[in-house]
C-alpha cells in the first residue's frame, strides 16, 4: 500500500474487455455529475456503458461520514453493457470515509485501484488525521492499491472553491486514465453547463484539463477498453428520462403526480419539456389527488398517466379500483423502491408486483408490464397507452430505482406519429348505444366522452349494467366482473412467449422480470461458460402472463425466479412449505400455472450483481437449493 504522489510518469497500459469504476464524494461535491459525464463520453465514443447512481437518502448528510457517500458507478465495455456488474476495479474517493462505505459494502475488488484525496492525511484537525489513519488501517486488510491524489491542492490553482471543482479535476484524471477523446469531454462539459455563464463553463474545462495533466505527470497506469463506434445513431439517457420521452411519444396529455423518490425525476424531465408538445405536468396536493386528476382527464377523453413509487401506489389503491370499475383508460408508472413502508427510498427493489396485481379490494383486473432496459422504458409507454385505450383499462408499468437512475446508450428510436393517441371523436354516439355495451365475447366496449351528443351517462364505481345504471342484481355484478376480466384474457391472446436466452432446454431455467434482465443473462452466460446447462427468460408482461410458460418450464429440470424482493430461504429456521414466503413472480407462476418454480431473491438495496446470481445458480444445481 502506498499513498505517495511521486510515481514515475511512465504509464503501463492495461487492456481490458470491460472495466468498472466508481466516483464517490460527500453529497453535494458533484461526483455524480463527474461520473455521468464520463459515462456519456464513453457511450459517445462507442463503449457499452451502464451507469448507476449511489444516492444517500438525505440532501446534505453530515460530510466525511460513510453515510454521506454519494456518487456513481460506471461499467464500460467493448460490447453492450446490460447491468452494473460485480465489484469495481477502480474507485475515486473525495475522502476516506465515503471510500470506507464502498469498502464495507463489498463494492470494490480485492485488488482494486483506489485514488483518494490525500489532504485528509495531513489535515490541521487531529480528529480528521486520526480518522484517516483508522480508515487506512481498515482498508489495509485488502490488497487495494491506494494512490493519494492532491485534489484540493491542485484545484486551488484554478478556483477559490475547490470543493466545487474537484469533480471536473477528477473527470480529467479519468479521461487520461481511460484515454477518452478530450474534444468530446469538453463538449460534454459545455452541455452540462449550458445554462450557466461561459466563464463557469471554461473554468470547469480548465479544471478538467488540469486533472488530465496531473494524471499524465503522476500516474503509472492507463486502462484501455476498446470502443467500437456504433453504426446506428444512438442516444443515451436514464430510465426516468426515457419514461418521460415515452410519454410524449405516446401522445399522453397529462402527467399528474406528487413528489416521491425515485419516481419524481420523470416529472422533472417532463416539467421542462412537456408543454412544448401541449402536455401538462400537474403536481397535485397528494398521491390520491394525482391519480384522481389523471382519471378525470382520461374520463374527459384525454389519456393521462400518473407516476409514483410504492407508498404512493398504496395511497392510489381506491382510485385504481374506480378506474377499473368505470373502465377509464389510465397508465400508472410505479418506479419501485425498497419497502415495506418508507423502506429504502433511493434504492432498488421489485416488491410491488403483488400489490400492483392484487392491491385493490374486490376483483380489479388490469395489465401489468415491466420494462427491463432503459430503451424499454421509452417504448413501454407507447405500448401502455395503446393497451389502456383499446381495452379501456388500467395499465401498470413497473419500473424501478435501478432503471430510474441507470444510464445506458440505445439505438435512437425512429419516431412514428401513429404512436400518438388519436384525439377523441366528438361525433354523436349512435342512437341507442350504451356506455358499457360489452361485446359478449371480447368484453370490450366503446368509450363515450363528454362532449359527444347522445352519450350522456354517469360513470360510477357502483355495480352497474351496460347502460351504467346502478343495480345490485346478482347476475349484473357477475357479468360486469366477467366482462372486465374477459378483455384481459382477450389481450393475452395477442402476446408472444418470452424469448429464451441460451439453449431452450437444460437443467435450470431462470425466470426474471424488470431491471434484473442484464444481470441474469450475464450470470447465466457465465454459468454456461462453466459448463452448466442454464438458460433464462424474462417476462415483459406480468398480468396477464405471456403464453408458452408451461411448455418452456417442462424443458428444464428445475425452474427458479431471480428477483429483488424478499423470500424466505427454504432451509431457514422454522420455514415450512406452509409458511415459506416466496418471490413475487414465483407466487404468481405457482398459483397461476401450477408450475414447480423455486425462487432466489435478495433485498440488498442495490441491483443484483451477476456474480452473486452465478453463485446462486451453482448452489441450485449442486444442492437443489440456492442460498
Amino acid at each position: 500500500m502506498s499513498t505517495t504522489t511521486t510515481i514515475p510518469p511512465r504509464a503501463r497500459v492495461q487492456r481490458s474487455k470491460e472495466h468498472i469504476l466508481e466516483v464517490v464524494s460527500d453529497s453535494g461535491e458533484g461526483a455524480q455529475k463527474c461520473g455521468q459525464s464520463f459515462g456519456a463520453v464513453s457511450a459517445k465514443m462507442g463503449n457499452g456503458a451502464w451507469t448507476v447512481e449511489i444516492i444517500p437518502a438525505e440532501i446534505q448528510p453530515p460530510p466525511r461520514t460513510p453515510g454521506s457517500a454519494s456518487g456513481v458507478r460506471i461499467r464500460i465495455g467493448e460490447r453492450e453493457v446490460t447491468n452494473w456488474g460485480d465489484e469495481a476495479d477502480l474507485c475515486v474517493a473525495f475522502n476516506e470515509q465515503v471510500l470506507l462505505s464502498r469498502h464495507r459494502l463489498g463494492a470494490l475488488k480485492e485488488d482494486a485501484t483506489i485514488l483518494v484525496e490525500n489532504m485528509w492525511a495531513t489535515h490541521d484537525d487531529p480528529l480528521v488525521r486520526t480518522a484517516w489513519e483508522k480508515a487506512m488501517e481498515e482498508l489495509s486488510g485488502r490488497s487495494y492499491r491506494i494512490v493519494g491524489v492532491p485534489m484540493e491542492e491542485q484545484c486551488l490553482a484554478v478556483t477559490d472553491n475547490p470543493r466545487r471543482g474537484k469533480n471536473m479535476f477528477i473527470l480529467g484524471l479519468l479521461a487520461w486514465i481511460y484515454d477518452r477523446d478530450m474534444e468530446r469531454v469538453r463538449e460534454q462539459i459545455a452541455l452540462q453547463f449550458r445554462k450557466k455563464s461561459p466563464e463557469v463553463c471554461s473554468k470547469n474545462i480548465e479544471l478538467m484539463e488540469l486533472g488530465a495533466r496531473w494524471a499524465e505527470a503522476n500516474l503509472d497506469f492507463r486502462i484501455e477498453v476498446k470502443a467500437v463506434p456504433a453504426t446506428a445513431p444512438m442516444v443515451v439517457m436514464n430510465g426516468n428520462q426515457a419514461l418521460g420521452m415515452g410519454a410524449m411519444a405516446a401522445g399522453l396529455d397529462l402527467c399528474a403526480m406528487y413528489p416521491i423518490t425515485p419516481a419524481t425525476s420523470v416529472s422533472h424531465y417532463l416539467g421542462e419539456v412537456f408543454e412544448s408538445v401541449g402536455g401538462i405536468v400537474h403536481q397535485a396536493e397528494d398521491e390520491i389527488a394525482a391519480i384522481g386528476a389523471a382519471i378525470g382527464a382520461s374520463y374527459a377523453g384525454k389519456v393521462a398517466f400518473t407516476v409514483t413509487s410504492g407508498p404512493g401506489l398504496a395511497l392510489k389503491t381506491e382510485f385504481i379500483g374506480l378506474a377499473v370499475m368505470t373502465e377509464t383508460p389510465l397508465v400508472i408508472v410505479d418506479v419501485q423502491r425498497g419497502g415495506p413502508s418508507t423502506g429504502l427510498p433511493t434504492k432498488v427493489e421489485q416488491s410491488d408486483l403483488l400489490a400492483a396485481m392484487f392491491g385493490q379490494p374486490g376483483d380489479a383486473p388490469k395489465v401489468i408490464l415491466a420494462p427491463a432496459t432503459i430503451e424499454e422504458c421509452f417504448h413501454c409507454m407507447v405500448t401502455a397507452r395503446r393497451i389502456a385505450e383499446s381495452l379501456r383499462c388500467v395499465v401498470l408499468v413497473l419500473s424501478d430505482a435501478n432503471l430510474a437512475t441507470g444510464v445506458q446508450p440505445f439505438v435512437r428510436p425512429k419516431l412514428d406519429p401513429r404512436w400518438q393517441a388519436t384525439p377523441f371523436d366528438p361525433a354523436p354516439v349512435p342512437e341507442g348505444m350504451r356506455p358499457y355495451e360489452w361485446d359478449e365475447r371480447l368484453g370490450l366496449s366503446r368509450r363515450f366522452v363528454p362532449g359527444q351528443p347522445g352519450g350522456m351517462f354517469v360513470a360510477t364505481g357502483l355495480c352497474h349494467d351496460e347502460g351504467s345504471k346502478v343495480t345490485y342484481a346478482p347476475e349484473v355484478n357477475q357479468r360486469g366482473c366477467e366482462m372486465r376480466s374477459r378483455k384481459i384474457a382477450v389481450f393475452q391472446q395477442t402476446l408472444l412467449p418470452p424469448p429464451v436466452s441460451g439453449p431452450d432446454e437444460g437443467d435450470l431455467l431462470i425466470l426474471g422480470w424488470g431491471s434484473t434482465k442484464g444481470a441474469i443473462e450475464e450470470a447465466a452466460e457465465r454459468a454456461r461458460d462453466e459448463g452448466l446447462k442454464v438458460s433464462s427468460a424474462h417476462l415483459s408482461f406480468l398480468s396477464p402472463l405471456q403464453p408458452g410458460l408451461p411448455d418452456l418450464c417442462r424443458r428444464f429440470r428445475q425452474v427458479m425466479t431471480v428477483e429483488i424482493n424478499y423470500s424466505d430461504r427454504a432451509d431457514a429456521p422454522f420455514v415450512a412449505a406452509e409458511s415459506r414466503r416466496l418471490g413475487q413472480l414465483a407466487y404468481i407462476l405457482r398459483g397461476q400455472l401450477l408450475l414447480d418454480v423455486d425462487c432466489w431473491t435478495r433485498v440488498p438495496g442495490e441491483p443484483l450483481r451477476p456474480g452473486r446470481i452465478l453463485e446462486a445458480i451453482r448452489e441450485k444445481l449442486s444442492k437443489g437449493v440456492a442460498r
Binding site: 452541455l191 445513431p233 442516444v235 401541449g278 396536493e285 397528494d286 389527488a289 366528438p426 363528454p450
Partner: protein, 317 residues
C-alpha cells in the same frame, strides 16, 4: 372565453336547439321524501335549462354519500367517484377540457372530512367550476354518524351522547384559504335564493364554492327547522354586487349590507352568529386560475413527434 372560441369548441348555447327543461332531467331521484336534495336538484336543472347548456357539455362530478347520487338524476355527463375525491377528478376534467361546464357535488362528510385536503387545494387552484357543498350536518347514507359540521351536542350513532366538539365552519375555512375567489351560502328552503346563488356561481370564472344548507328529515330534522320555518330569523347579505332574490328578501329576514369584495367583513360575517346568513360572502374574479395559467393548445401528432425528435438530439451519442 370569446363567443368565437365557444362556438369553435362547441360549448355554450346551441342556436339550433332550444332545450326543454326535461333535457336535463334524469330518472326519478331516490332520496327520502322531504330531503332538501330534491329542491337543489330541481333548481340546478332549472339553471341549466335557463342557460340552455348543451347537456353533453356538462359534467357533474361527485364523491360518495346521499348528495353524491346527484349526477345520476341529471341527464348530463356524470362521474360518481369515490368518497371525498370529487374535486381532484373535476380538476383533471377541467384542466384538460376547458370547454366543459364542470359541477362538483359533495356532502359535508365528503368535502369537509375525508376530502378536506382536496377542498383546501381546490380553493387555491381556483379552477373554473361550481363546487356545491350539500351540508345536512350528518352522514346520511351510512345512517347517522357525526360529521365535521354536526352541531356540538347533537347525538348520532357514533357520538350518542352528543357531538363532542364545535362544528367546523365551512365558510370561514374556505375564506381562510389563499386565492379563494367565490364563497356563498344558500339554503334548500329558499329556492329563489338558491337559484340566484347557483347562477352567480355558474357565471363566476373560477372556483365557486357554494355551501347549501340542506335539510335531512331523517337524521337531522331539527338543525335547520327554525331557520326554514321562520325565515325572519335568517339574515340576508345584500349588495348591488351581491346575490339578489326579491322573494327571499321579502320574507322578513334581516337584510345585512355586505360588500362582497371585502374579505375581512366576509370572514367576520361567516363566523357563527345567532342567525343563519345567506348570500354572497366574497367574490374576486381577478384571482389567478390554475386552469387558465396551465392551459395548453392542442398539438397535432406530427407536430409533437417533430418536437420530440429535436428533444432526442439533446441525448444523441
Amino acid at each position: 372565453m370569446s363567443t368565437d372560441v365557444c362556438s369553435l369548441l362547441g360549448c355554450g348555447i346551441d342556436e339550433e336547439h332550444a332545450y326543454e327543461q326535461s333535457a336535463y332531467e334524469g330518472p326519478l331521484a331516490r332520496w327520502c321524501p322531504g330531503c332538501g336534495d330534491h329542491m337543489i336538484l330541481a333548481v340546478t336543472q332549472r339553471l341549466l335549462f335557463e342557460e340552455q347548456l348543451r347537456p353533453e357539455q356538462v359534467v357533474f362530478v361527485s364523491g360518495i354519500g346521499c348528495s353524491s347520487r346527484f349526477p345520476h338524476y341529471m341527464k348530463t355527463y356524470g362521474f360518481h367517484g369515490i368518497h371525498g375525491r370529487a374535486l381532484p377528478v373535476a380538476t383533471g376534467i377541467k384542466l384538460t377540457r376547458p370547454d366543459l361546464h364542470v359541477f362538483a357535488v359533495m356532502g359535508d362528510g365528503d368535502c369537509c372530512s375525508i376530502g378536506a385536503a382536496h377542498w383546501i387545494h381546490a380553493i387555491r387552484y381556483n379552477v373554473d367550476m361550481v363546487a356545491m357543498l350539500l351540508d345536512n350536518n350528518i352522514y346520511g347514507l351510512t345512517k347517522n354518524q357525526t360529521s365535521p359540521t354536526t352541531p356540538q351536542g347533537h347525538p348520532s350513532n357514533t357520538q350518542p351522547r352528543g357531538s363532542y366538539l364545535p362544528a367546523l365552519n365551512p365558510l370561514t375555512a374556505t375564506l381562510g384559504v389563499t386565492n379563494a375567489s367565490f364563497v356563498a351560502q344558500t339554503a334548500d328552503w329558499a329556492p329563489g335564493h338558491l337559484h340566484a346563488t347557483l347562477e352567480a356561481a355558474y357565471r363566476h370564472k373560477g372556483f365557486a364554492f357554494v355551501r347549501i344548507l340542506q335539510r335531512c328529515p331523517v337524521w337531522t330534522p331539527a338543525v335547520f327547522r327554525d331557520a326554514a320555518q321562520d325565515p325572519k330569523r335568517n339574515e340576508i347579505l345584500v349588495d348591488a354586487k351581491g346575490i339578489h332574490d326579491a322573494d327571499t328578501e321579502k320574507l322578513g329576514g334581516k337584510l345585512v349590507p355586505h360588500d362582497p369584495s371585502d374579505l375581512h367583513a366576509a370572514r367576520r360575517l361567516a363566523e357563527d352568529g345567532g342567525a343563519v346568513r345567506l348570500g354572497l360572502f366574497y367574490r374576486d374574479e381577478s384571482k389567478p386560475r390554475y386552469d387558465e395559467t396551465r392551459h395548453q393548445r392542442a398539438f397535432a401528432a406530427e407536430e409533437r413527434i417533430r418536437v420530440l425528435d429535436q428533444e432526442f438530439d439533446r441525448y444523441a451519442v
